[in-house]
Symmetry: C2
Subunit: 258 residues, 2 copies
């Protein structure tokens, strides 16, 4: 669909598919609205955020939405957006966004465990917390495996090309599970505090429901951009040349298979 032209440096610079920037812009609009609306919900109805008080809990949803939903989603889109940069640059950006996401999510986790400890609440009894721990452990393992295989020098190319599809599948799955876990957490927060007022269409309930739909829509938008076959990042001449040296690579990863 998109034409391929050779650049001066000998790398193949593919033109960007016409509709891709609009879809990416839309996903970013959804993502930023999501973060803003999470902030608005916590500010308007939950008293805002502070570390050294009961408001410490509120750092949890905000950090998780910024880290494990918005930044994680954007890290997945890096390979679609930066199509013509060197693969290594894109990789480093992908890894860095995931580091930011991981650190912010860690702050969010500390916030909720610290809050529970101070209040004497039980930890890890709910479905939200079980899914959350599962997501966080998977995310950490995926990050370490991704770093070892793709960024740390030395992993053989044949191993990289075998692990690559698994990395992509688990990356998308962990992202979707993060969105699902956020929905469960939102629901929990609403049922704990709103009680009967939820069924009376209180403004907080309606706002939080819209926030939930936005979460699902952001997940859907990222998934759509990721899975459009003709939007995949084309192989570049440098990688193609490299892959010629490794017979094992040519089968599943040939330039023509994109």
């Amino acid at each position: 669909m998109s034409s391929v032209c050779l650049s001066m440096e000998g790398g193949a610079a593919a033109s960007t598919p016409a509709a891709l920037p609009y879809y990416v812009a839309f996903s970013q609009l959804l993502g930023l609205t999501l973060v803003a609306m999470t902030g608005a919900w916590l500010g308007l109805y939950r008293g805002g955020i502070a570390w050294e008080s009961d408001l410490q809990f509120n750092a949890h949803p905000l950090c998780m939405v910024i880290g494990l939903v918005f930044l994680q989603g954007d890290a997945l889109l890096v390979y679609r957006v930066f199509r013509n940069e060197a693969k290594r640059t894109t990789k480093v950006l992908h890894g860095l966004l995931h580091v930011f996401a991981l650190v912010i999510a860690l702050v969010g986790l500390v916030a909720v465990f610290d809050y529970h400890r101070k209040k004497g609440y039980t930890d890890l009894y709910s479905l939200h917390s079980w899914c959350g721990i599962l997501v966080f452990v998977l995310y950490l393992v995926q990050w370490l495996a991704g770093f070892s295989f793709f960024l740390f020098p030395g992993a053989p190319f044949s191993l990289r090309s075998r692990y690559r599809p698994q990395h992509i599948f688990f990356g998308a799955t962990i992202f979707l599970l993060s969105v699902g876990t956020a929905l469960l957490g939102l629901k929990e927060a609403l049922l704990f505090s709103l009680g009967d007022k939820y069924s009376a269409f209180e403004p907080e309930g309606v706002l939080a429901n819209v926030l939930g739909l936005l979460l699902a829509c952001f997940g859907g938008a990222v998934l759509y951009i990721l899975t459009r076959a003709d939007w995949k990042r084309p192989s570049q001449a440098e990688e193609q040349a490299l892959s010629m040296d490794f017979k094992t690579l040519t089968e599943g990863d040939s330039p023509g298979s994109q």
Copy 2:
């Protein structure tokens, strides 16, 4: 990866990838355990199911898990499992499984609205119900569009091949949203009835959390089987011959592109 041999009738019968049957068997084990465990949860802790009493509500989770999770998931897998049947047979099976899923889901919807009406409860205020209505409407639209484009004779081949990737994307997305909505519903049912007992690790809470993880795992297993590139259904000779007649089809749907 998988070798292709011409059968006696002249159709191309591709061999089944070696690992596929194990993954499908595993997904079915997960799916059946999921349905059995939903039944066990409702039977052991919620008094079972009956239409003409307060137990009418319990028909809702069971019908939704059977229809919009298990049967919908299996309908998506039909094209991976029946690789060597005629495309039309597989299509009809895909459509029929979705009809069963739709009818069972409709019974589940009637159960909860009827229960709410009898009890005087408010309808459609929660995030679970908003997501649920969204899923059901999308599912209905997807079914009608799928029927009109692919089963009803007369849709031009060029239109079919343009709509096909959208149908696949929205099919997977609606399925995942169904799983997410089921998780929200489960969480709602637990928080409504267990209250403080949830944090005391009551058996019902633990069982329902395991049920929630099973739901997520079934979603993940179906997604994995669907997205493995080398497990996609190969084009068959009859379709290949047909596609020769329609130049518009050959670009994105050629036999070699699988």
